[in-house]
Symmetry: C2
Subunit: 208 residues, 2 copies
Amino acid sequence: MSEARGAPATGDDAKTPRTERGRRTLRAILDAAAQEFGEHGFHDAAIARITARAGVALGSFYTYFDSKEAVFTALVRDMSGQVRAHVGPHILDAPDRLTGERLGLQAFLEFVRTHQALYRILDEAEFVDAASWRAHYETTVQGYVASLTAAAARGEVRSDVGEVHAWAIVGMNVFLGLRYGVWATDTPAGEVAQIANDLLVRGLARRD
Amino acid sequence: MSEARGAPATGDDAKTPRTERGRRTLRAILDAAAQEFGEHGFHDAAIARITARAGVALGSFYTYFDSKEAVFTALVRDMSGQVRAHVGPHILDAPDRLTGERLGLQAFLEFVRTHQALYRILDEAEFVDAASWRAHYETTVQGYVASLTAAAARGEVRSDVGEVHAWAIVGMNVFLGLRYGVWATDTPAGEVAQIANDLLVRGLARRD
């Protein structure tokens, strides 16, 4: 959750821009790549359309990326960072971790609704760049394990939280995002997050 | 959960075999297709290798399928049915729905470990045959909604169970299967299912 929104987190696959103008160009290329890959998929996406969408010269693309594979890998890492940058503060600013989980899920559903390319790109990464795909989920889960463990130490959640719980929660959130963020947006994000959070906090057992 | 294991559930995309020998041939083609698509992915998979793996003549393939797309669609439906046929009895035979959910998750993890092609094929379906991909999850969730609602009527789970809960549980299980079935099998399936089930039944709240 360390990446600021808008600062491209491209890692080793892109040359790091040294000027503000360079950062803006790289940001424009990544946003255009998200549109292009989201609409056409990896195989049918074209670098020339990415630069056209971004309003930059083809040479600018090759300043930062060697290939379509390279911009795709950078985009997966960038989108993964964008999700964390968008959701993280909602978790961190909440009075406790379980409230934070509800507000974080609501923020995630809202992010998915306004970034419809996210799922298609992350899902296609399994076939285009499996290492980045796996890293996205492993990084997300590692963040959950760390923050749940800290919450347990503060007495906010059960004391035995661990990796299985983190994978379960991330899976819940990913599927709720698919159903209530990508496929249909008829139910308010806050309502979905409330129902899911009550399940997560109190469980499925009968209440009397 | 109506499909018997081994009886191909191919729906409209395959001609239905009328003889026992025909059913065995179709079963062999689908099992070979699972291996071929699982190893090579849809685009690089070859019908000739599917028939070679199945030990059937090329003509036998075209008795049942018109194309690579058709056998892929049939395979997605068949695998979806196989998962339900494998997991369903563990849920139904349990003394109550929450115990059934634990035993069903354990059975699912064991199925995934012995059917490593499952995830790759279902995940690739998003890009090859999105309707079948979506139908797999919607069918799975509909089954959950029905069985949770019935369990609520019997007083075995909270009375307000509904679609959001079902999507959350299916998402949990899919991600636990990815992590503890596909990526690594170091933790016993029963142990993962026990931890996840305790989370699902009792929730994440602190216990004193």
